[in-house]
């Protein structure tokens, strides 16, 4: 285990239910994340992060905790390297009339290549989620690579 840990906090003018839906509902997720998350979201079930047509699996794992619309904890690994598994938790709560969404990505294995792949993706995905929920318009995260390359792209080099 290594100590690398990413903590992302976003305040969104929305409701906890909508934020939960945005993470777990495939049609909702494709609007701002491009890819979508598939699972029945029950504890112990598998979940997958797949391309819009479902043909490609980018991330896979198990649901460790599921308490809608407050907390979701997942294991996270690339399908071609399942041993390099890490953990992602989503915590959703109301703070001062806004939804506070905390995403924590941690528990990386020693020598994991995942931090490089995800550290630029999460801020962009969360930014796009916020934009979609607040304005109805997501960010084109495939186009806006630049310094905040989309999830799982070549930004690993950074």
């Amino acid at each position: 285990m290594n100590n690398t840990e990413f903590v992302y906090t976003t305040y969104i003018k929305s409701t906890p239910d909508k934020v939960w839906q945005a993470i777990t509902n495939p049609e909702f997720a494709t609007q701002y994340w491009v890819n979508k998350n598939i699972s029945d979201w029950k504890k112990g079930s598998e979940w997958k992060h797949v391309s819009p047509d479902g043909s490609q699996t980018m991330v896979t794992g198990k649901v460790l905790e599921s308490n809608p619309p407050k907390r979701l904890v997942l294991t996270w690994a690339a399908p071609d390297d399942l041993a390099d598994v890490s953990q992602v938790s989503f915590d959703i709560e109301m703070v001062g009339g806004l939804v506070k969404l905390d995403v924590v990505h941690n528990q990386f294995k020693q020598g994991s290549t995942m931090p490089g792949k995800i550290s630029k993706g999460w801020p962009l995905v969360l930014c796009s989620l916020k934009s979609l929920l607040e304005t109805g318009k997501a960010i084109d995260i495939v186009a806006v690579k630049g310094p905040c390359g989309a999830d799982g792209d070549k930004s690993a080099a950074a």
Binding site: V7, Y8, T9, Y11, V144, G146, P147
Partner: protein, 113 residues
């Protein structure tokens, strides 16, 4: 104009408009999850000054904290900076700007580190 959003953006820009605070963010970019003592060590600032800067960075949501046992650990939260980025950089400019940025880094690289 969305006043709450502009208020938040004001906080972000004010928090960034100080070299000591930017230096604290640099430290957190190098290594996430630092305690107040860790942050004081790397900087020529009093503990009170670091604390004061961290309050402003937290208010701008640029730094988030988590409790680990008795310690409060600090993390760089790049989400607000990403919002600034996506607000003004259009979809077709991103690639070109990245290329320019890489060129600048390559040209200046020798003098930098």
């Amino acid at each position: 104009m969305d006043t709450a959003k502009e208020d938040h953006d004001d906080k972000v820009f004010k928090a960034l408009a100080d070299s000591s605070r930017r230096a604290l963010l640099d430290s957190l970019r190098e290594k996430q999850g630092l305690s107040l003592s860790d942050l004081c060590e790397g900087h020529d600032m009093s503990r009170q000054a670091v604390t004061k800067h961290l309050v402003l960075l937290e208010a701008a949501n640029l730094v988030v904290t988590r409790k680990k046992g008795r310690e409060k650990l600090h993390y760089l939260n790049p989400v607000p900076i990403n919002e600034i980025y996506t607000r003004w950089i259009g979809r077709f400019e991103a690639g070109r700007l990245m290329a320019l940025d890489n060129l600048k880094k390559a040209l200046e690289g020798d003098n930098n580190e």
